[in-house]
Point group: C2
Chain length 267, copies 2
Amino acid sequence: MRLKKYGLNPARIHHIFISHLHGDHVFGLFGLLSTLGMMGRKVPVHLYGPHALEEFMDYYSRFFGPLPFELSIKSPQDKEDFIFESDTITVTAIPLKHRTPAFGYLFREKSKPLNVIKEQIEVYGLGIADVVKVKRGEDFITKSGELIPCSRLTLPPFHRRSYAYISDTAYDPGLAEKVKGVDLLFHEATFSEKDKKLAALTLHSTAAQAATIAKMAGVRQLLIGHFSTRYKDPVQLEEEAKEIFTHTVGVKDGDLYSLPLKRVSGE
Amino acid sequence: MRLKKYGLNPARIHHIFISHLHGDHVFGLFGLLSTLGMMGRKVPVHLYGPHALEEFMDYYSRFFGPLPFELSIKSPQDKEDFIFESDTITVTAIPLKHRTPAFGYLFREKSKPLNVIKEQIEVYGLGIADVVKVKRGEDFITKSGELIPCSRLTLPPFHRRSYAYISDTAYDPGLAEKVKGVDLLFHEATFSEKDKKLAALTLHSTAAQAATIAKMAGVRQLLIGHFSTRYKDPVQLEEEAKEIFTHTVGVKDGDLYSLPLKRVSGE
């Protein structure tokens, strides 16, 4: 129902990354999978999450019968774990410190094929096989033996975008190294710094702690969320984080944040 | 979230009646109970539903830990079963014909104490103990031995309202007797009569079948819903039912239908 509300097509979902088995992070899964089944889903759905996820899904089939599509479940090891790779992205699981096994996920784009400049194809007389090689980043050697560097034949490459999703977790300075330099970091900020003790007790983070991770990691942009309902106005949490890391935005479920595709300049 | 959307306070919920363990009827339960726990619920919650409900709830505590309030679970027998009674209502479970054990529920108001007419108290000299008796429906005998009938001392009694919820079920003419004369009947109408075979195959009902039950049972008002998404405009299902039973309304989740409290006239 939330996907429908946000105008997202569930049929386009192929991979689902579950952080941990607490209700607010997993209760929607049964409904989503059930809806996919009702929609006539045929292609597989891939789930990633803590080991207990497999047992959790066993109960789905036990009570609600088999799903009409293949469901694969993969659990990261309890260390930084490269768990998924497609033609375009890689995903690494990052163990978090929470009351139950939990993982963050780092999504990193792969290099896209280079865009060859049409005029240069004619100028240097590249064949189809040559273009394929240049798109991969290879230089070109003309029939007369002259080496034309790839960079002269192509537009600057696209920046490889990266996004890290970190929720739920206690403050863990070790995370900064793992999400170093990402374009976009979502980090939970359940509490305000004034409720720091409660955060430590429940293995959650404060807005200031989320900002500290972002600052240490040198990310471009920080998104904070997963706010406790005790804060009537989450703007106070955003303000708290901004004092430490300026590029912070407080977000809520359904907010959309786009990372524009940019060419690397000066290369 | 739906309760919030409809402006309903979850803390006011004490009894939850589950028809059957199919996703669209039970997936919301974990979230609701979890929310009640988060809200600091202390008083018990009573669940009613098929036997498997108990095992289903075992998995809640297994994965998400114990709830901070008592949860009682009661399963109706596989026959018409009087399962709940309070000061004001009774609830009877009605077995349905579906692909998994399923129950409808009949909610019936008990008689309310009669309202004694103040002027008559003075006229006939009733004491406090007399008023209590008259409220229960007893006649009054004056000191001089004259019998004053209860009906002369009180306003006409309130009509005892009744509501039957029947979903999901195949067409079952035997249901008519069980919901005979209720004020309000919700009966599922997943399909149109033109998809009658599909209804029989999936053990669901058509709009015409729901209307037939309402007509046979002589109910005052029929609500139909649980429409298959294959019907772009559910008005066609409402029209189909209305041809058989005029007092039919097509409803969707969150619609509110009130049964006004009325005194029985001419008594």
